[in-house]
Structure formats: C-alpha cells, structure tokens
Symmetry: C2
C-alpha cells in the first residue's frame, strides 16, 4: 500500500466555482477554488490540481445539477439539460475518473452535503433526514436507510407548492412554477419582494416573519411526506440571526399538533437544526463520496 | 409442517369496519366484515373468525392510525392518540399476536396498501413509489428500496401545503391545517365546497378541473420531494370517470418542464396510474404483511 492510501480527492462542482481539495482521511491538506468557465478548462484545472498534490485513492464529486444518476444509463454521472452555457451533457464523472484512473463517485451537491452531515455532522446515527439549503436557490438532499435517496432522477426540494400568506401579493420568481418555495423564499426573492438586498433587511422583523412562515410550510410538507428524523437547514439566508429559532416556532404552528411522534410536540430544537459544516457541507460530502468510492472498489 | 403452513390471516382495521380474511397464499378462502365498535368487541370478533377457519402461519394487520411503528418502543404496534372513542392506546399488534400465538406484522393502512400494490399490483419491480388514496380522507404510503418507509412516525401525505387557485375562496376543512391537501380535495370537501354530494357533480367539469389541479399540485410536491418512480392513486374520489387522465394533464402543467428524468416529459400514463386492487388494496397489503411476518419468523 503506498503512502497515499488514505488520501482522497474532493470536488464540489458549483455553477460559479469549483472547490477542489485533497484530504487525509477527512482532514483537508490542500485545496483551491477554480472559477466555473468551460468544462474543458474547469475540469482540467481541477484534475491538474489533484495531480499536483500527489496520488489519491479515490475521488468524490458533489455537483450542481441536474445530473444523470441512473447507474444503468450510458450517460451516468453526466450533467443533463442545464441553462448554464457549455455544460449540458458534460460527462463529469467519466472525465475525472478516466483522467485520474481511480474509483470516483458522484452525487448531486445537496445529496453530497447530506452525506457529509450524516457521516460527521448534524445527522450522525440517524436513519432518515432531510438536508435543506436556502441561498440563491433552495435545494435539498434526502437520506433514507443510510443512503442518499435518488429514485426517478433526484429530488428538487425547492420546487414544492406553498400556501400564499394573506396579504402577500408577491408573484413569485420561479421561471417554472412561479410561487413555489424557491420562487417565494430564496435569497434573490427576498430582495425582489422588499426592494433591498437581504443584508439591508436584517432589522425588519416583517421580512423574517414571512420568510419563516414559508420555510416552515415547506418543513411541514417534508415532515408529512418523508417523516424524517431530523431536518438540517442551512445556506446563506439562514445566517440571519434568530431565523432558525423563528422557523422552529412556525413549524410548530404549521403542524397544529397533528403529529405521529412526540418528538414533534417539543420545542423542535433537536428536529430543526443548523448544519455542522456550514458552507463546507458540499466539500465534506465530496470527501465522504470519495471514501464510499474506495469501499466500493474500482469500476 | 402442518397442512395450513400456507394459510395467512389478514386484518384491514378501518375506522368504521374491520375486514378480516384467511388466505391460501394470496388467495382469500374465507372473509368477513366486522363493525368497528370497542377494541375488545371488534378485535375479539376478528380473532374468533380467524380461529374458526383454522390454524394460520402468521397474521398481517393494515390499520387506521396513528400507529406507533417504532420497533424500539414499548407501545410498538399500538394505536396512539386518535379522536376515535375507546381506541387511543389500543395495543392492536400484541392483542392479536398473543391471542393467536403466531408471528404478526402491522403497518399503517396506506403502508400496507402500498406493499400489496408493490408485490402484486401496480408497482411490481419498482424500487420507489407513492401510493395515494383520495376518499373521505387523503393518505399515502411510500415504498423506498423494497420497504415501506416510516422514519419518525409515518408519513401523513394528505396534510401538505397547497397553492390556492385564484378565485377559489373555499376555506378548507382540515381541523389542523385548514387548506391543506386533505382540507381542500378530500371527498367531503368536494361536497362542502359545491353544496352537493360528489355523486351529483359528475357532469360538472369545473368541479373536476379544480380537483385535478389540487391533486396535481400534490403529485408535483411528491415528485420533487421523493422522486418516486411511479405514483399510484386510488380511492373513492378517483372513481370519477376521466379524473385520472385529467390529473395527468395537470401534473404535466404543474411540472412546467422542470424534470430530472425524461420519463416525466411524456404523457405520464406510466407515471400516474390507478391501483390494481382498488378497494382491496388494504386487505391485499395485510396478506403481504402476514407473509413478511412469516419470513421474519416468530418474535
């Protein structure tokens, strides 16, 4: 066994930047950030960086989507139809695997983040939970029975239906669904709705009251649909002080006492929680994916 | 091995009646219906009926809820807090198991129905799907990776948030959530909204247009949350001619082309389907549960 048998490469492939790291175990020993330009340029730079650090045992990729995650598909591990120029059809998994010649595993960014929080973070030991990120978009990963759940494609948890709050006449900004969760509650919608960047609205309680109600509606819907043991909720919007606590209160109101577990009758401080890894959840997830790629052996 | 080694008892425990059957394999050879009165009387009659038919290998119970389905709980298999008089705290599983002395398995009614449709009906061979019933209430079961999914308690799929259709001023009849899916689209709400029993509204297209949109919103939410390979939708309301086809059309509109699988871009005739067992889905599910109890051995 060579000296780098416990070195893993991790790629968090985002729409604006790639974060690339090499870790010993789960500890990052080298990392870089690469702007997302063309697939050739960006993936090439990621591969060069990893090679420059030295041999790795395996690679994990947590990528923006949509991704083809059907193992029986000829385009498994490729980015499918995306509005992002140049990237539709990019075979991200096979490019990396073929260049580095080691086992490589890919998942959607939020699926990777869920895996990282489950292995080392806010969901250790649970058999089911939801990871939700509320930022420039809203997305989520679902872990059930020790696996990231995919099904037909993968979840797109930001695009569920919401009940409009009386008096709120904001049309909703989702190009596909108008007033879905993402269209009503993602960061850019807060700015569109109130006419100021979210950072300048920090001391306007009505802003966060409305935001908390919509997020709580979504958490109620996930609760009734998936019955998760916990919901981990992070992302840029959740950095607003007090918002997490307000969301918990609103979830209790939304459930209205109709629950199938006494856990949901308390203050929800163990049910609705912040991620441990914050903005590093995706990168930690990619490290976890790399470790899983190793244990599954080469393919 | 005695001559009844392939005989299984099945109990579909409903809020108004219990259906009880003995099956050879999956074929019912004797069955009865018992009104749901008190636990002693109704469960006692079910046990007497099964004993009267002869020895069985095991028993399956698909029951109304909420149920305690946490295997580590001291009240596992009991009905928890229900508004139904006399039934809160009834240890349904242990009463039946102790009386008959054979392995017994319990699940929520819709979970059992999902299992039956997965084993022999409309979802054979799938690794994930949703079973939804739209009748006097709305409920659903989720099957993931060959198992009925529970998590924290179990799903209550009728109580998700919906987006109110413009011009619809019906308040919604759910005592917990007002205008949730069940509060807007269950059978009794159709009658409350339009002032006539659903049976007398069959030729009023506006009734079914609205119903189809709300159901389609829910199916969109399940699609984005669970990414199931199929949604099986039945129940009394779905007997309205043409409603299933209309729901498919509305689901396509609701998704707005935003999908992670090409399966969702077609006419959805393989994605949104009727159950095979119709009103027998719960009883078939109880037979399937009995078979699983057998394979897991006595407990």
């Amino acid at each position: 066994m060579d000296s780098n048998a416990d070195h893993f490469a991790a790629i968090e492939a985002g729409g604006t930047k790639f974060r690339v790291a090499v870790a010993r175990g789960r500890d990052v020993i080298a990392d870089t950030t690469i702007p997302t330009t063309s697939p050739d340029e960006t993936i090439g730079a990621a591969i060069d960086f990893i090679r420059g650090v030295g041999p790795v045992r395996s690679v994990g990729i947590a990528s923006f989507g949509p991704l083809d995650l059907d193992p029986s598909s000829s385009s498994y591990g490729s980015i499918t139809a995306t509005p992002k120029p140049y990237w539709s059809g990019t075979p991200l998994l096979s490019r990396v695997r073929d260049a580095l010649g080691v086992p490589t595993k890919i998942d959607i960014d939020v699926g990777g983040a869920a895996l990282g929080e489950w292995r080392w973070g806010a969901a250790v030991g649970l058999s089911s939970f939801v990871y939700l990120t509320v930022g420039t978009g809203i997305g989520g990963g679902v872990l059930i029975d020790d696996r990231v759940h995919h099904g037909l494609g993968h979840p797109e948890m930001g695009h569920i239906a919401l009940e409009r709050i009386e008096g709120d006449d904001y049309a909703g900004g989702c190009p596909f669904h108008g007033a879905c969760l993402e269209g009503m509650a993602a960061g850019p919608e807060i700015e569109s709705r109130w006419g100021l960047p979210a950072g300048e609205l920090a001391d306007r309680p009505e802003v966060w009251e409305l935001e908390a109600i919509y997020l709580a509606q979504a958490l109620r819907t996930y609760t009734y649909t998936l019955a998760p043991q916990r919901i981990v909720i992070g992302g840029g919007v959740m950095q607003q002080p007090g918002l997490l606590e307000l969301v918990r209160e609103k979830v209790t109101e939304q459930l209205g006492g109709y629950v199938t577990s006494e856990t949901l009758l308390g203050d929800l401080s163990e049910y609705v929680v912040a991620p441990v890894f914050g903005q590093d959840a995706g990168l930690m997830g990619a490290i976890a994916l790399a470790m899983d790629a190793r244990s599954e052996g080469p393919r």
